[in-house]
């Protein structure tokens, strides 16, 4: 059993405070959904936890199995078991998916350990088949010229290959067609059953029909203003953010 604990986290970009005291604990196998209006700080939260250098954590802590990840570089955090599926994945011309994932897998091996190339490709192809990604993608440059949905699928492919303990999925559903959404959801559900913990940022109830959350949190202006079970997502969808603004925010 692992746990990812976000404790009273405050995050700034430059002088501007974006995340203003947010606490949340995700355990292995759990799915937590975060919903909230645009600009409320959801991506900032996810990137700060992953260690993005532009985001300053001014107070609070992020603990992975009781150990703070804040002193760690982003790559150390990733190797410790965190995975961020980006809302806007970077396009990296000239670096093929195959070489990139190989470097990522290699980085997880011990000193002097050599990657088994045959095994690596076998695993890569089987994950690609599951996610219905054409094998030709391995020789394509990372996200370079990918459609929105292809980028998101490629994020999930990386997650499947790297087998993190916790995934921060930032609007992975946006840009996916209905079939792709189901494929991705099946992939996440399979990983969940092997104890992946998920923090899922989404605007849409639709995804939560496929990946049923254990907890739903509503985020507003850098804080969680309400938490509940999956019915909260339905309530939010029915009532809209005016409900949050008028009834959940203390005047």
């Amino acid at each position: 059993m692992s746990q990812l604990e976000i404790k009273d986290l405050h995050v700034s970009i430059g002088e501007k405070q974006i995340v203003k005291g947010l606490s949340l604990t995700v355990r292995s196998g759990e799915v937590h959904a975060i919903m909230g209006p645009n600009g409320t700080g959801k991506s900032t939260l996810a990137k700060a936890v992953a260690g993005h250098p532009s985001y300053t954590i001014t107070s609070g802590d992020v603990l992975l199995d009781g150990k703070s990840v804040l002193p760690m570089q982003p790559d150390e955090r990733a190797r410790a078991g965190l995975f961020l599926a980006f809302q806007y994945p970077s396009e990296i011309p000239g670096v093929s998916i195959a070489n990139f994932l190989r470097a990522a897998v290699q980085a997880r091996l011990g000193e002097g350990e050599e990657l088994d190339a045959t095994g690596y490709y076998k695993r890569l192809y089987s994950k690609m088949d599951l996610l219905q990604i054409d094998r030709k993608f391995t020789s394509r440059a990372i996200n370079d010229g990918f459609s929105g949905g292809e980028k998101k699928r490629c994020e999930i492919l990386q997650m499947a290959m790297l087998e993190p303990k916790f995934a921060l999925m930032d609007e992975t559903d946006s840009g996916l067609d209905i079939d792709a959404l189901r494929i991705v959801a099946d992939g996440v559900n399979a990983l969940r059953s092997t104890n992946l913990g998920v923090l899922m940022i989404t605007h849409y109830q639709r995804l939560l029909g496929y990946i049923v959350p254990d907890h739903v949190h509503v985020m507003w202006d850098g804080r969680i203003v309400k938490s509940g079970d999956k019915s909260l997502a339905l309530e939010l969808e029915a009532k809209g953010y005016d409900w949050v603004k008028n009834e959940l925010i203390p005047a």
């Binding site: 570089q73 790559d75 190797r79 994945p89 970077s90 000239g94 670096v95 470097a103 440059a141 790297l162």
Partner: protein, 442 residues
């Protein structure tokens, strides 16, 4: 000023004394008289021409104090065993290995290619056996970009090199490889590769420039490509001289009607390296793809000057020079597109991109256009950028350490150039050479 001791100390000739030239000339006295005459003329030009001066526009930004000509000798013969020859790991149609200006090893082309009339031999052999062909093309394009003095020295002291002749219609799938070694402290070498591609031919020629050991060498080379009607020629030069080497290399490309020449120069070695590249598009449909990749480390200086001359209508050229700079390295790119008055419908592109991997490195760019026709499309541009922070974070977020992420991104930067090679093993071999530069064996 005529005392021999003063002549010896003349910085404009350095080690390259009349005695040295006389000894060289004696060593090639069996070669045709016209060639020896040309060498004597070139020698006179070398003596007469001054070293580059601060005020020479064609040497702008270059470290002129690094161009010292003393401390070098015409080196003795070496055996192939002494070279520590590292195989490049690609299948070849033929191989010539030169060391210290002499042929030391050879893998001849197949009997079948020979039967078709392909010549892949030493320049000395060609001078003796195919004199007229050589005479028409050898050093036929005079230098124009500032290295006239060094080019004259090359002609004067050129002892041997590679000669490639592709008779009409012949296509060779595998590359022809030429290795040029310098061995021993102070070795002065004058590598040369001449490629004549007759109409409708297709081939790939690769020059590898290497040092045996880490001595201070002087390399003064030249390669000439002549692509006749419809020829498709790929030329790759991988420069990997020792870090103490002073190198001058100049390339001339002539593309005739519908010819396509792709030249890719990989610059890795040398203390100070000057490379001049001069492409002439002489007839409609001619295309020149001018590519270069440089990895500049430590205090290395790479000085690249290019000329794209459009002499006929409906010609095109595309130049992409990419430099990655580390340490306190310095690069210079100076490029000029020239469009002659009647070269309408010219399509010319010139781009220099610098990836700054260190704050102490210095990249200089001087792009230029000289257009005398009115219906043309010419663009040029130069950029310098650092590793993209978002891309770096993306890779790190997958567990890849920062240094490795930066290396991946740097190779990604190079790939735009390398991907233009449609020969996968060669592409991979060049990546291998660059990797060694980033991670030298301990």
């Amino acid at each position: 000023m005529s005392a021999p001791s003063l002549t010896l100390a003349d910085p404009a000739i350095g080690s390259f004394t009349p005695e040295l030239f006389a000894a060289h000339l004696a060593s090639v006295s069996h070669l045709p008289a016209w060639w020896l005459d040309r060498k004597r003329e070139a020698w006179a030009r070398f003596l007469a021409l001054p070293l580059p001066k601060r005020t020479d526009e064609s040497w702008r930004f270059a470290t002129l104090t690094g161009l010292k000509l003393d401390g070098y000798t015409l080196p003795p013969a070496v055996t192939p065993a002494g070279l520590g020859h590292a195989p490049i790991g690609i299948a070849k149609a033929g191989k010539l290995v030169f060391a210290n200006n002499r042929l030391v090893a050879q893998e001849p082309i197949s009997a079948e290619l020979t039967k078709q009339g392909v010549i892949f031999e030493t320049l000395q052999h060609a001078l003796l056996k195919h004199g007229d062909l050589v005479k028409a093309h050898l050093l036929a394009q005079p230098p124009k970009q500032g290295s006239e003095k060094f080019s004259a020295l090359h002609t004067a002291l050129l002892a041997d090199g590679a000669f490639v002749y592709l008779p009409k219609g012949v296509e060779i799938a595998l590359p022809l490889a030429v290795f040029h070694y310098a061995a021993g402290a102070g070795a002065a070498v004058f590598p040369h590769t001449l490629v004549i591609a007759e109409p409708g031919t297709k081939a790939t020629v690769v020059d590898f420039f290497r040092s045996a050991g880490d001595g201070a060498h002087f390399a003064c080379g030249r390669n000439d490509l002549y692509a006749s009607h419809g020829a498709a020629l790929t030329y790759v030069a991988a420069q990997n001289w020792s870090r103490a080497t002073l190198s001058f290399q100049s390339n001339s490309t002539v593309a005739r009607r519908d010819a396509r020449v792709l030249a890719l120069n990989l610059h890795l070695g040398g203390r100070q390296s000057r490379h001049e590249s001069h492409s002439q598009l002489q007839a409609p449909g001619a295309h020149s793809e001018m590519l270069a990749l440089t990895v500049a480390h430590g205090t290395q200086e790479f000085d690249q000057r290019t000329l794209q001359i459009h002499q006929a209508p409906h010609t095109s050229s595309n130049l992409l020079y990419k430099n990655a700079l580390l340490g306190s390295a310095k690069t210079i790119f100076s490029g000029l597109i020239v469009v002659d008055p009647d070269a309408q419908k010219t399509d010319a592109y010139q781009s220099n991109r610098n990836l700054m991997l260190s704050d102490d490195a210095e990249a200089n760019s001087l792009p230029g256009l000289e257009i005398q026709a009115n219906d043309v499309r010419c663009t040029h541009g130069a950029t310098s950028s650092r590793i993209d922070a978002e891309q770096e974070f993306y890779l790190q977020a997958r567990g890849i350490p920062k240094a490795d992420a930066d290396e991946l991104l740097t190779f990604g930067f190079f790939e735009e150039v390398l991907s233009k090679l449609d020969h996968a093993p060669l592409h991979d071999a060049l990546i291998g050479l660059i990797k060694i530069k980033f991670n030298p064996p301990v």
